[in-house]
Subunit: 261 residues, 2 copies
């Protein structure tokens, strides 16, 4: 392991992958981490271990995952990016690259993360977005969803909104922003209607964004009351919250670091 610390912002279409984290035994779907480590090691001709800002689950996408790795190489930073882009499969892209100080750690130095969950609400779902949105084919009550979202803001114990398979002991997190908005775009000559959740926080427990999205979906469908959120936060029971929505609607959008790093 060298002492140059390289930070990269990467994007990936998670559809083909087992998720970010390298698996002890890789199955038919590979991890993005393993694919990247192989490409970087091959490119720089030294064994590279890469650290991500956090895991993304099987099938989850990233528009701005932050990663870093140490290398001994002397290769220019833009050459590393260019070479790597040639070696990576076309569903993983390096968007930005920079050399950072030795104390930068893509997970530990992160101060906040933003995820987006995308519902397609068009009556006939787009055939081209089926692995990029969760299609529900109906409109939701956005006002009620916004009201429910309000209860989630701030610092809470989010145990009820996380999978029991989580590895974290501390289930306290802080949500700084949770916005619900609709978009209408034209793609492939058709009008695509979406409802999107944008959520920024200090960090997220295992499946937390997908469970929050599933709970807010039920609120938007009038299958539960907005006030349920308060009870889930108090009771801290997974079964009280909504279902874990499928991964194809979820995007890791941005990881924010202290500007001093």
């Amino acid at each position: 392991m060298g002492n140059r610390n390289i930070k990269m912002i990467i994007a990936y279409d998670g559809s083909r992958y087992a998720g970010w984290q390298r698996l002890k035994e890789e199955g038919s779907k590979r991890s993005i981490q393993a694919v990247m480590e192989e490409a970087i090691s091959l490119s720089l001709k030294e064994e590279i271990k890469i650290t991500g800002s956090g895991r993304t689950d099987k099938g989850v996408h990233a528009l701005g995952q932050a990663v870093n790795f140490f290398c001994a190489c002397q290769t220019g930073i833009e050459d590393i990016k260019e070479e790597l882009q040639k070696l990576l499969p076309d569903d993983i892209a390096v968007l930005e690259i920079e050399e950072v100080s030795a104390d930068f750690h893509s997970r530990k130095s992160a101060i906040s993360k933003t995820y987006e969950y995308r519902f397609e609400t068009s009556e006939v779902p787009s055939v081209f977005l089926r692995k990029q949105v969760y299609s529900i084919q109906k409109e939701l009550d956005i006002k009620e969803m916004e009201r429910a979202a309000g209860w989630l803001l701030g610092t809470h114990d989010f145990r009820g909104f996380s999978s029991e398979k989580r590895e974290e002991y501390n289930t306290i997190r802080r949500i700084d922003r949770l916005t619900v908005f609709e978009t209408v775009t034209t793609r492939h000559q058709r009008e695509i209607k979406e409802l999107r959740l944008l959520i920024t926080g200090s960090g997220f427990l295992y499946n937390m964004v997908r469970i929050i999205a599933g709970t807010l979906l039920e609120v938007g469908e009038h299958k539960r009351a907005a006030e349920d959120i308060k009870k889930i936060l108090t009771d801290k029971k997974r079964e009280a919250a909504g279902m874990t929505l499928p991964p194809e609607g979820l995007y890791l959008k941005e990881v924010v670091y202290k500007s001093s790093i």
Copy 2:
């Protein structure tokens, strides 16, 4: 076969399919025609044969393929659409449905077709569009491409611009429009640059749009002169034209019929 004639406009993501046309022996990839015939037959409980406006090759997409079929059923037209949408896989969608007169034939009655070929020119290709555009990672000389396109307009023998595997004897076709334009859109928080070819004509020979796109690409790269087009039309030799571009950039956009039908 009944005497009700049903016309539908369908869209599909061609990535998973062997193309429109039913194959004698279906391989690992199925044909869209076979998948649709099964779904309609199952839905209407009678054996249905479906006719498309024309073939689309393996991997080619459709935004507005026109098809028709005859049935004996008495099911309401909107009910057919709704039921069918439930049975079809999520990469095939029924956009419109209507009952038409018995003499309507989706191939023979067509008076023109429009195809689009999409090049992504962004330096770092979008990870989400890789099966929906042909990524070339460079800008092209659009003026020269437009000049070359001019020679293709009108009625010509397009033998030189078609695969020798074509089944058609008559290789005369008419091109009514061939426009080249750039688009810049924001998707997944990134700027996506594209160059698109829009081509409308009386009909197209086997691989004709992809060979025209491949020839215009070489003109845009300054690998051949715009005037080459004239020579390819005169000499009628396939090897004189450019390469057949990959199917993922190609879309059947629209099929036009006489309004009287």
